[in-house]
Structure formats: C-alpha cells, structure tokens
C-alpha cells in the first residue's frame, strides 16, 4: 500500500492511500512505476520524465527515507507501507 500526501489525493479521486499489486520483492522504483501506471498525474509529480525522484519529494519505506537507503533501488519488505510526502522546503 502507498500512503499519499494530502496534496496528491486530488489526483487519486481523493484517496489517502492506494493499494498496488506489485510482486515481492519489490523496489521503491517498481512501486512508483505501479503508482504512476494507476495515477499518471501522481507519477509525474513524484519523478520527472528522466525517472529521477524529484528533489523536494520524499518516499518513506516504513519510517525510513528511501534517499537515506538505496534510493529507488531500496527493497520494500512485504507488508511494509510506502509513504509519499513533500519535503519540508519551499519559500
């Protein structure tokens, strides 16, 4: 399951989370691929067209930021939630 930041929910018909069918062991990248396939408007907000995670977007695997692990190669253990949140940044 992927939990969505409030600002992204308008692009998922208001849902706060999305259940995705990604066979284990799944990487963060594979989860984001599935998320983008289900909701393209969310997909392009999380990663740019080169596939890079946007600078001010954080993807958590459980409580850990994927940027502190192996980035989009981070393996998501079965049953662990992925959460997409905007970073504390801006002006």
């Amino acid at each position: 399951m992927v939990r969505l930041a409030a600002a992204l929910r308008q692009h998922a018909e208001g849902a706060s989370s999305v259940d995705l069918d990604v066979p284990p062991p799944a990487s963060v990248g594979a989860v984001l691929d599935a998320l983008a396939a289900a909701h393209p408007a969310i997909g392009r907000r999380v990663r740019d067209e080169s596939g890079a995670l946007r600078r001010h977007v954080n993807v958590f695997v459980g409580a850990d930021n994927a940027k502190d692990l192996d980035g989009t190669d981070t393996v998501v253990p079965e049953g662990v939630e992925v959460t997409v949140l905007p970073a504390i940044s801006g002006g």
């Binding site: 408007a41 392009r44 907000r45 067209e49 080169s50 001010h56 801006g90 002006g91």
Partner: protein, 373 residues
C-alpha cells in the same frame, strides 16, 4: 479538472495575465483600459514563468506553465477563461524517453502568428524548444536545436540555462528565432538547422569580446509588420538588427541611464518604436536613481525619451524581469509592467501616462496580454 472562478471578460476586453512566484492573476478592463478588475490567484503556491491567452482561430485559450517547487512543472490549459483547467496526462511538454533530460521550468509559451492558428511554441529549462500543432494540447521537441553542436558550451545564466524568447515568423513560414541565457540568439530558416546570430553583440563578461555565441541575451522583440527588424536587450547593451539577427548594432548607449536591463518591447503599431526599462547595473539590478521609468525610442533607437508620469519617482528601487513588461495590440498600445515587488502598472497611451493596476502581489515573473476577440 479543477473548477475555479473564471475571468469575467467579453469580446473587446483587454486581459493582462500576471504570473508570479505564488500563482497566476489576471487583470481585465474594457478597450479604454481605465477601470481594471483583478482576479485570481490560480495555481496557488506555484511559480508562473509562462502564460498566454491565445485568441487565434476562434478560441480563447489560456495556457499556463506552472512549476511547483515540490511536484515539478506542468502546462495547463483552460477554454473557459480559468473556470476549469486541463492538465494533459501523460504530460506532453516533456523530453522524450531516452534523452535523459527533464523539464525544470517552462519559460515561454508563445502562440505563432495568425497564419498558424494551431501552432504554439514553448521554451524550457534546460534550454530546449518544443512545438505544438494542436493549440497547446501536445508538444514535441525540436531535435535540431537540442542536438546543436554548441550546446555543450552553453552556460546557464542566473535563471538557469533557459530558452526564454521565441520569435516566430508572423507570415507563418518556418523561419524562427530564439534566445537562450547564456548562449545568445539563434535562428533557423527551416525549423531544424540553427545558426548562432550574435554578430555585433559585445560580451563584456567573456574573455573574448565578440564571440560567435555565449552572449546573455535577455529579451528580443519585433514589430509584426517588419519582422526583419529586431530589438534586443542584452546583459549589457540594447541592440537593433534590420536583417533578423544577421548583424546587430548597439543603440542608446549615450541616451539611456544604463544599458543593463531585462525586457524590451516593440510597439505593435509603429515600426521603429520600442521600449526598454533600464536597471542600474548587473551588480545593482534596480531602477536608476530610485525612479521607475520606461524609455521609448520612436526612431529605431537613435534617441530615447524617459516616460515616468504616474510611475513612482522617489525611492523606487524596482526590478523588472525579462517577461515583466508587455504591450497589447490596441492603438495606441497599452503597456504593462510588473515588478519583483509585486506591483503592476499600466499605460493606455503608449507610455505617456501610467496608473497602478495592482499592488502587493507576489513577485511578478511574467506579464502577458491579449484582447479578447
């Protein structure tokens, strides 16, 4: 699709789009351009570097390039003056798969002339040109410019390596000019093969004073009836070309308080008439002497007059960015200036007199206008 309040305007009304660092606003007035109404914001919290109201081919389509600092850039369109916005999915203003680049900002959305009512050009960072043949619904990359042999040597300016200016052929031909900071002015006769066209433009910030490319062109504009005559505001220096950039001649060096500035606007009705907005220097990018003044030439750049009636003339240390100044297509031309301090000024008489149209907006990134048909 998100429903919002729309711009309240009808045929003959003048609409001035104001793109800011925190969203899009719109000012509307009748043809006399005296009683203005402010609407917005749309796209709250997003940077609006590019906007256009496309009134060709019987449409009244708003096109907006918005960038969220979190969620990235996108191009939206509205066919009901802002009541509803459509974001194409997948986003079509994007680099093709395999290019390995990503759009950081949409810097310019430029409808072509009336002869090409479905063509819209887009300039982006990193410097690239896109073209739409369906009124801005989908875009494709100009491969010729993207693969230009000079590209590895182009250097980003303060705003990044951005393609910020597009000069289409008003007759609908394939000839096109673009400007990139800091690569200079480039032109093409066939839409795919591009040549640097900077002969005569000095580059005092480079070791070689007159390089083939690398100039920091800030803005280029031209009179629609004289498409070969271009006016150009460089990082230092105002220039004119009479052969679409074949060679450039500096103008105004002895008449302007500073030749540093960002925007240049060609009068839509009178060939040889153009406007600039000098800033003190590249080290102090504010209006000289604390006075906000537009300078106008009516003789192709030989002489310049200061226009400041109604503009703040005391303690006005103001910055106007490259797209913060525009003209409508009425006669006399209406002029519109938006500042980084969030004020918008308008003139209904080609700069002779000015009034404040809005204040306390977020910093203004672009000002664009159209008359509804």
């Amino acid at each position: 699709m998100v429903e919002q309040a729309s711009i309240n305007a009808s045929a003959g009304d003048v609409v001035v789009l104001v793109g800011t660092t925190k969203g899009l606003f719109a000012l509307t007035a009748g043809p006399d351009r005296t009683d203005w109404t402010l609407a917005g914001p749309w796209f709250m919290g997003e940077e609006i570097y590019a906007a256009a109201l496309d009134c060709r081919g019987g449409r009244a389509r708003l096109l907006v390039g918005a960038t969220s600092s979190h969620w990235g850039p996108s191009v939206y369109r509205s066919d009901d003056l802002g009541g509803t916005w459509i974001e194409p999915e997948p986003q079509t203003l994007a680099f093709p798969e395999g290019v390995g680049a990503a759009v950081a900002h949409v810097w310019q959305l430029q409808p072509a002339g009336d002869a090409q009512p479905d063509v819209v050009y887009a300039g982006v960072e990193p410097a690239a040109l896109f073209r739409s043949d369906d009124g801005g619904q989908s875009f494709h990359l100009n491969e010729g410019l993207w693969g230009h042999e000079h590209r590895p040597q182009w250097q980003p300016g303060g705003g990044g390596l951005c393609l910020h200016t597009i000069v289409p052929d008003p007759a609908g031909g394939p000839r096109l000019g673009i400007a990139i900071s800091a690569a200079g002015f480039y032109r093409t006769d066939d839409g795919q093969n591009w040549e640097a066209a900077n002969v005569g433009i000095r580059a005092p910030f480079l070791p070689e004073p007159a390089p083939e490319f690398g100039q920091c062109v800030h803005k280029v504009d031209r009179h629609p009836a004289e498409p070969d005559t271009l006016f150009l505001q460089h990082h230092w220096g105002v220039y004119r070309s009479s052969d679409f950039g074949g060679k450039w001649e500096e103008v105004g060096a002895d008449a302007l308080p500073s030749t540093f500035g960002f925007p240049v606007v060609a009068d839509p009705n009178r060939a040889g008439t153009a406007y600039v907005l000098p800033l003190t220097s590249d080290m102090f990018r504010c209006t000289p002497d604390g006075r906000l003044r537009v300078y106008r030439t009516t003789d192709g750049g030989d002489t310049w007059d200061a226009l400041g009636q109604g503009l703040p003339q005391e303690n006005a240390y103001v910055t106007v960015l490259r797209d913060g100044f525009t003209a409508d297509r009425l006669d006399p031309a209406g002029l519109y200036v938006g500042t980084r301090t969030g004020d918008v000024y308008g003139s209904p008489d080609a700069g002779e007199s000015w009034t404040e149209l809005a204040r306390h907006l977020p910093p203004v990134l672009c000002v664009k206008t159209a008359v509804l048909r």
